[in-house]
């Protein structure tokens, strides 16, 4: 298992290959990658991601441990960036490896649902018109109910 909270960009392909190579007995590898979307008006300059150093790593490790309790997983990877990002930049990725595809898919969705609402990150959108903290969505909180 690897958790990385980092300011630097990551290479999705290199990370996916490294994750898949480390793995032997698994038949199924799922990755999720989150990308900064532009605003509807197309004028997003920067997405600034703030986090809580210390708690962030612990919270993500706890979420990943929880996933490993619930599903039969060979390996888990979580990378999450903070700092200043531009539209099209990759914010984060998770990867799961499992014997069966159902475990790999469900665990990846679980990780994403919990990272959204339970890992201490906050996003601020800075555009020509000013800056706004991204509000948490009710649907993201509701997504936790299914687990």
């Amino acid at each position: 298992m690897r958790v990385s909270v980092q300011e630097e960009p990551f290479d999705l392909g290199a990370e996916a290959n490294r994750f898949a190579e480390g793995d032997t007995g698994s038949g199924a590898i799922v990755t999720f990658t989150g990308v900064v979307r532009d605003l509807a008006q197309g004028n997003l300059d920067v997405m600034e991601i703030e986090h809580y150093p210390g708690m962030t790593e612990k919270a993500i490790a706890a979420i990943a441990d929880d996933a490993r309790q619930r599903w039969s997983l060979a390996d888990v990877l979580v990378i999450h960036r903070y700092g200043q990002l531009a539209p099209g930049d990759r914010i984060m990725m998770v990867a799961t490896a499992a014997r069966h595809r159902k475990d790999a898919f469900e665990a990846a969705e679980f990780l994403m649902d919990y990272l959204k609402s339970r890992a201490p990150f906050w996003k601020k959108e800075i555009s020509g018109e000013g800056s706004d903290w991204v509000a948490a969505k009710d649907e993201d909180e509701a997504a936790l109910d299914r687990w």
């Binding site: 989150g34 703030e50 809580y52 210390g54 708690m55 612990k58 919270a59 999450h80 914010i91 984060m92 994403m112 990272l115 959204k116 609402s117 339970r118 890992a119 201490p120 990150f121 906050w122 996003k123 601020k124 903290w133 991204v134 509000a135 948490a136 909180e141």
Partner: protein, 81 residues
């Protein structure tokens, strides 16, 4: 005790972190103390339903006791992923 603020809570209060000497028994007591201090705290803590709290880096509730706690953090609902 270290008190940390993140995102718009940090912006309203104007600092990311401060040391506070308090006899507050619970998080809610601490919030009442802070709100009584200055308008910027009152502005930050105006709607507790829009806030989350972590005690020693674990999500907690506003009724939680502060006994033995070294670090309290206030922030809006998280928006990771």
């Amino acid at each position: 005790m270290d008190v940390l603020y993140f995102a718009w809570v940090r912006e309203r209060i104007g600092i990311p972190k401060e040391k506070i000497d308090t006899e507050a028994a619970t998080v809610a007591d601490l919030v009442r103390e802070l709100v009584a201090r200055e308008e910027r705290y009152a502005a930050a803590f105006a709607d507790l339903s829009a806030l989350r709290v972590a005690l020693d880096q674990e999500l907690s509730g506003f009724d939680a006791p502060l006994t033995g706690v070294r670090e309290v953090a206030f922030f809006p609902p998280m928006t990771g992923g």
